[in-house]
Symmetry: C2
Subunit: 380 residues, 2 copies
């Protein structure tokens, strides 16, 4: 019986494609998610668009030839219509949980942008709702599908650098006055938006969750930073006294790098976190140095291909909801540390399986730069 089901599913996976609604049509959806469907045709179809802005729906519906367009208030109707199988949530951070839960209750699989949500409690709600509905939940950590980052993690874990001792990272950019990332109520701020990359890279390369975290924030007089911090410095202590630290900033020029240093060598990614350009690493072990550059590639289509495969073949996707929750737990603790000035101890987490090391990453062609609609009110 199980074999028949597997054979049936294997059949499906060759013939059937997962129909997605992209929910939220802000910057990340327009710049990356919608164009990625072109490279994920094997098993993924862009079937519907959901947005609060009719003009965006109209323009993007025509551009991507999507007929099923709907506003936020009509979403439940779409979700229950049988016309879609999954949602890609690209909403403002504070709306992730609501729409993930609504989608799960309608029996839809959920692929959700990071940060998974604003609070640990919300993340737990999402995990509960998708588990109860028996649908898949994946958090869209695009760098788990990116070769430079995967190779760095592989080298770090393989012992190439000796025993790992510390991690350090900078991620900064200039965020414009009218950007949603500057709104506290929508889950904005540098930790949620870019600090999460540093936290995830530290957890990913060190293969652990931190046991203690500390952070401090700079709140400048710049009017952009009325509601959120301009810059955050965060530090984490891992098992075996490994330390990690990072700086993330919305008020400084582009910088995007991390390094992992072990007893025998170090690996530095620079740029480390971008999707608009190719990434590169330099590995140094003893006196030997090696640099490797990677061509720019679509980091989003591999996520769609993989998540659709998980749905069609009934496999548990990774990065899972627990991976998303682990980062939000660190962010919440860091925000508490910023308020109190004290380090925050984290409970040891149940040992989770390490993220699957994907040996073969499909690298679809780079999409043309799409024209963006109303990016000022972009969701990400």
């Amino acid at each position: 019986m199980a074999r028949q089901l597997a054979a049936h599913r294997a059949g499906l996976s060759r013939t059937k494609a997962v129909r997605y609604a992209v929910v939220g049509l802000g910057h990340i959806a327009q710049a990356a998610v919608l164009p990625a469907f072109k490279h994920a045709r094997r098993n993924s179809v862009l079937a519907a668009l959901v947005s609060g802005e009719p003009k965006k729906l109209d323009t993007l519906g025509r551009r991507y030839r999507v007929e099923r367009l709907c506003g936020y208030d009509e979403a439940d109707e779409l979700f229950g219509s049988g016309e879609i199988d999954a949602v890609y949530i690209a909403l403002p951070n504070n709306m992730h949980t609501e729409f993930a839960v609504r989608a799960a209750r309608a029996g839809l699989h959920v692929l959700c942008e990071k940060p998974m949500a604003v609070t640990v409690r919300e993340c737990e709600q999402m995990i509960r709702a998708t588990t109860q509905a028996n649908v898949k939940l994946m958090i869209a950590y695009r760098l788990h599908f990116e070769r430079a980052n995967l190779e760095a993690a592989r080298l770090a874990r393989a012992g190439t650098l000796g025993e790992l001792r510390f991690f350090s990272s900078d991620f900064s950019m200039q965020v414009r006055e009218d950007n949603i990332r500057l709104e506290r109520a929508k889950g904005g701020g540098p930790l949620y938006d870019i600090g999460i990359y540093c936290i995830n890279a530290a957890r990913h390369t060190l293969s652990e969750d931190p046991l203690e975290v500390w952070a401090t924030a700079a709140k400048s007089r710049d009017p952009r930073f009325r509601e959120v911090d301009e810059t955050v410095v965060g530090a984490m202590r891992f098992k075996d006294e490994r330390l990690a630290s990072f700086t993330c900033s919305f008020g400084a020029a582009d910088r995007s790098t991390y390094a992992v240093t072990g007893t025998r060598g170090s690996i530095t990614l620079d740029p480390a976190y971008e999707y608009a350009e190719g990434l590169a690493y330099s590995l140094k072990v003893g006196e030997r140095k090696r640099t490797k550059k990677f061509a720019k590639s679509d980091q989003f289509a591999p996520e769609l291909l993989y998540f659709s495969d998980c749905i069609l073949n009934n496999r548990e996707p990774e990065p899972s909801g627990l991976e998303g929750l682990a980062d939000v737990r660190v962010i919440e603790a860091m925000l508490r540390s910023i308020r109190t000035g004290k380090p925050v101890t984290l409970k040891m987490q149940q040992r989770r399986q390490r993220p699957t090391m994907r040996k073969e990453i499909r690298r679809p062609a780079v999409p043309r730069e799409p024209r963006l609609v109303n990016v000022k009110s972009a969701s990400q």
Copy 2:
């Protein structure tokens, strides 16, 4: 009268050379200070050696053709003999103050390795003693005489990067079991020995003293780190909410880099702190990138040339005792923060003059690698 004195001194500066005793013949003396005199002949003479180890005195005395050799207990006799004008203190950190004060009281000028001393109190003693004796005091921050670092600071201060927002740095190396740097009683530990470079580079590029600092330490099970921390992560808050952070470690592979990021661009030095190889920086402003490499050069001879010039022409040297004290103040506060887990507020310091920007750095040839004597018991 003043003019006559100045003319007299100008005359001296052309004809006279400052006679130095190098006090402490450990690693830094053997690898760098003694060989540097060859490139500082214009105004500096290696006239005496002081060490607690007769074998070192003998071997190095013959190698550098220095006849005046003396043990620590005979130092006062040497200092008062009229045979030397200045001391270069390359002793273990906990002996700096004692010998600086003894030298000053004998009317000798003092050039002292960094860290200036182990405590703020000791630094203040040294400043008081040299002020009262009316002799010059300089702390041997070799990177204040190194072109890549000087250019980075100049670019940062000139506004090339826009307004400066954050600084980040890693400095790590593997320190061997028997190294003096691992002895707490001698002023060892990664903050005193290498963290001081990160602290000084942050203060130097941001042109300020920090207002608040925080640090945490990793104490590993590695038997090397019974007395001192293996790794320290430190953070500093400067005026205008500029943040700096760094990681320094005695238990990881070589890493030596810092970056200053402003509102418009960033500059990264890598390697940043070495003297055994040429340094390099990459400057990124908007989309423009520029990389500049510097040939290896003697970083120690320029210090001797400059300090001797200051003595002969009665100019106040920079980096002064106040510069040395400023870093030790930060280190003491960070050690307190490590113990308490809390940030430590620093009193606003009297505004000091910025370190002189030396436009013209003499770059003597690179000395041959000297053979080291008893390096295991090296002082630095």
